[in-house]
């Protein structure tokens, strides 16, 4: 079968993308944290991601998430802080099959204020963890879900 022009171009893009990825020097940022994402318990996820489960509850971590979510498939979450030297912001959903939902690296100059939308399989506590100056600060809030977001 002859290869179509479109397919050839697609292959080319994929190929060059792969090359670029390989050529780019391993950046300061870690590769996708597979162990942490695949962990099924929050404690394991903390350990895999941060190497510690020592979180201190802090009002400096401002977590904005609805108290009741009608649709667990898209729950808006915002996390921000006024803390200095923030290295990362991570979002955990305690009762999801895999608690670690997303983690964001905050390089110097980037403002520790992010928003996204996440899935909740069921009513659960949502925890935001901010790593600043090498320490972990967290804030949790329960979100009640009327329709789960993980299908099945």
């Amino acid at each position: 079968m002859a290869i179509s022009r479109r397919k050839f171009l697609n292959l080319l893009t994929i190929g060059s993308a792969a090359c670029l990825t390989l050529l780019t020097p391993i950046s300061a940022f870690a590769a996708w944290a597979s162990d942490a994402f695949n962990a099924t318990k929050p404690e394991d996820a903390y350990n895999n991601l941060f190497g510690s489960t020592d979180l201190s509850d802090s009002d400096e971590v401002k977590l904005k998430v609805p108290k009741i979510a009608e649709n667990g498939g898209a729950v808006p979450v915002s996390v921000k802080t006024n803390m200095k030297n923030v290295e990362s912001i991570s979002i955990f959903v305690k009762d999801n099959p895999q608690p670690l939902t997303a983690t964001f690296q905050i390089p110097a100059g980037t403002i520790p204020d992010i928003s996204t939308r996440i899935r909740l399989a069921q009513t659960s506590t949502v925890t935001a963890v901010i790593k600043a100056d090498g320490k972990l600060y967290s804030k949790s809030q329960e979100v009640k879900v009327t329709i789960g977001g993980c299908g099945g």
Binding site: I14, F104, T110, T116
Partner: protein
Amino acid sequence: MKVKAKFKNNITSVRVLAKHPMETGRRVNKETGEKIPAKYIQELTCEYDGKVVFVAQFGTAVSQNPYLAFSFEGGKKGDKLNLRWNDNTGDVDKTEAKIK
């Protein structure tokens, strides 16, 4: 991937909407009874002026067509941002966005 970047008060605010199914790998096709294989964005990065200004790593619990908002100090109207995501199956998408 749709990107809107705005410069104001020396801060560039970026909003991203990536088109992606974000399959968890736990959903079952009701007709065939087979599991729909996982397909989800693992990493999304944003570069400005040759510097990485933002890295997001996602698990399967980020909503379909992920939405993301973040901001960084600096930037300039008319300058370009380079965004890129890759998913667990090796698919990659890249977008250039102009700061407005």
